[in-house]
C-alpha cells in the first residue's frame, strides 16, 4: 500500500490517530500530526512511498504539533517532537513541511550509525553511485535535481549512506530541497515535476521541495557500488570544469562533510577509505546545467576504465 492509496481524508485521519508509517529507503518513520500544511506536503511529495504495516518496527517516531498556550493562536508555531521530546526550536507554522523534511534528515544523521553518513547528494547509473558532498550554497541540490530528471536515479539529495558492513551505497530517495533562485530554475528545467509550495523567510531563505522521481522511490531497495566522489561548486558564468582530485585530499574533504565519521572511529576511517579507494575523485565547477549533465553522462566508472 502506498500513501497515494489513501484519499486526503484517510491520510489526515491516519496522521492524527494511528500515525502514518512511511517507508523511506531502509527506514520506517511513524508520523503524527494534525497540521494541514504538513499533511498537504506529505500527501503531495510522498504519494509514491510505501506504507509499512502497523505491526512493523518503526525506526523513528515523530510528531509535528502546535505548542500549548498563546503560541497556538498568536503567530502560531510548529514543534518537532522525536520520541515525544522537543528536538528543535519551534518554527512558524507555515514551515511545518520543511521542518518535517529537516527533522527527517536529523533522525537519520543522528541515529543511523550502521552507515557512514555524508552530507551529499547521491545518484546512480549502471549500478555505480556518484556522491556529491558539498556544504550548503554549492549548487549540490540543483545539480542533483537536474541529474534526477535526465536519466540518473536519485539515491538521496542530502544524505549519502555508506553501509559500514560492506561499503555499499544505500538509497534514501526523498524530496529534493531547493532554495531561492534554484526553485524557479528547476520549475523551468523540469516542468512536469511536482513541487511543494514555496515557503518564505525560513532559516535557509525561500524553500520548496521537489518530488523524488517515482522510479527512484520504487527502486529504493537497490543499492549501488561506489563510482565517483565529486565535489560540485556552482559559479555564475564559469566554464564547466571537471578536474581530478588526489584521493587523500578527497578523503579529508569527504570526512569534513560526514555527520558521524568521528563517532564511528576506526570503522568510519575504514568505511571512508574504502569509499575513496573505490571511487574516481574530482572537483567540479559548473554554471550551465545542460553542460553539467553532459559531463556526468560521459563519466565512466574506474572499474571499467582500461
Amino acid at each position: 500500500m502506498k500513501v497515494s492509496d489513501l484519499n486526503p481524508a484517510q491520510l489526515q485521519q491516519r496522521l492524527q490517530e494511528a500515525g502514518l508509517r512511511i517507508r523511506t529507503g531502509p527506514f520506517v518513520t511513524r508520523v503524527h500530526t494534525s497540521l494541514a500544511a504538513a499533511a498537504e506536503g506529505i500527501g503531495l511529495l510522498y504519494a509514491d512511498y510505501p506504507l509499512a504495516e502497523d505491526e512493523d518496527f518503526a525506526d523513528f517516531h515523530i510528531r509535528l504539533a502546535l505548542p500549548d498556550g498563546l503560541r497556538r493562536w498568536l503567530r502560531p508555531q510548529v514543534l518537532f517532537l522525536y520520541d515525544g521530546t522537543r528536538t528543535f526550536k519551534p518554527l512558524p507554522v507555515d514551515q511545518a513541511f520543511p521542518m518535517f523534511e529537516w527533522g527527517m534528515n536529523w533522525c537519520v544523521s543522528s541515529h543511523a550509525h550502521s552507515y557512514l553518513i555524508i552530507h551529499a547528494a547521491v545518484l546512480e547509473k549502471h549500478g555505480h553511485a556518484v556522491i556529491l558532498p558539498a556544504p550548503p550554497g554549492s549548487g549540490k541540490s540543483t545539480l542533483c535535481a537536474a541529474l534526477s530528471q535526465r536519466g540518473w536515479r536519485l539515491l538521496s539529495d542530502e544524505l549519502a549512506l555508506i553501509r559500514v558492513a560492506d561499503g555499499c551505497v544505500i538509497p534514501l530517495p526523498r524530496p529534493i530541497s531547493l532554495k531561492n533562485a534554484s526553485i524557479d530554475i528547476m520549475r523551468h528545467y523540469a516542468p512536469d515535476a511536482v513541487f511543494s509550495r514555496k515557503v518564505s523567510d525560513t532559516m535557509k531563505g525561500t524553500v520548496a521541495h521537489m518530488q523524488a522521481p517515482a522510479d527512484s522511490v520504487a527502486r529504493a531497495s537497490e543499492w549501488a557500488r561506489p563510482g565517483w566522489v565529486i565535489f560540485p561548486r556552482y559559479e555564475a558564468g564559469a566554464d564547466t570544469h571537471l578536474t581530478a582530485l588526489p584521493k587523500a585530499h578527497a578523503f579529508m574533504r569527504a570526512a569534513d562533510n560526514a555527520f558521524n565519521y568521528s563517532l564511528l572511529g576506526e570503522r568510519g576511517f575504514a568505511s571512508l577509505a574504502g569509499l575513496i579507494e573505490a571511487s574516481s575523485c574530482h572537483d567540479f565547477v559548473y554554471s550551465k546545467l545542460d553542460e553539467a549533465i553532459d559531463v556526468f553522462n560521459n563519466l565512466r566508472p574506474a572499474a571499467l576504465l582500461p
Binding site: 588526489p246 584521493k247 587523500a248 585530499h249 578523503f251 579529508m252 570526512a255 568521528s262 572511529g265 576506526e266 576511517f269 575504514a270 577509505a273 575513496i276 579507494e277
Partner: protein
C-alpha cells in the same frame, strides 16, 4: 635526543600516491601527510630514533633527492610537524 611515537598501535594509515591519510584512534584526529613523513612516522613507531638515524632512513628512501644536510633539515621539519599534531614526542632518556 630520540623521538618516539605517542601511540603507534592507535594509528591507521591509507596511502594514495605520494600522500597518506593517518587516523589516530587515541584522539579521533585524522591527518594528511606526505608519504615520506608517514614513513618516518612508521619508523619512529617501530622504535625510537634520533635525527641522524632518521636522516639516514630518509636518504635510503629518497636516494636521488637528498644530501645528508638536506635530509637533516627535512627530518627536523617533519619531526616538528609530527610533534605539532601530537603523533610523536621526545623519548624519555
Amino acid at each position: 635526543m630520540k623521538w618516539q611515537a605517542i601511540s603507534p598501535q592507535s594509528l591507521h594509515m591509507r596511502a594514495w600516491g605520494e600522500e597518506v591519510v593517518v587516523y589516530d584512534a587515541r584522539t579521533g584526529d585524522t591527518h594528511l601527510l606526505a608519504l615520506a613523513a608517514a614513513r618516518i612516522l612508521a619508523a619512529i613507531g617501530h622504535s625510537p630514533a634520533n635525527v641522524s638515524s632518521l636522516a639516514q632512513t630518509l636518504t635510503d628512501l629518497l636516494p636521488d633527492q637528498n644530501s645528508q644536510e638536506q635530509a637533516h633539515e627535512q627530518i627536523e621539519a617533519m619531526l616538528a610537524e609530527l610533534a605539532g599534531i601530537s603523533l610523536i614526542t621526545p623519548a624519555k632518556p
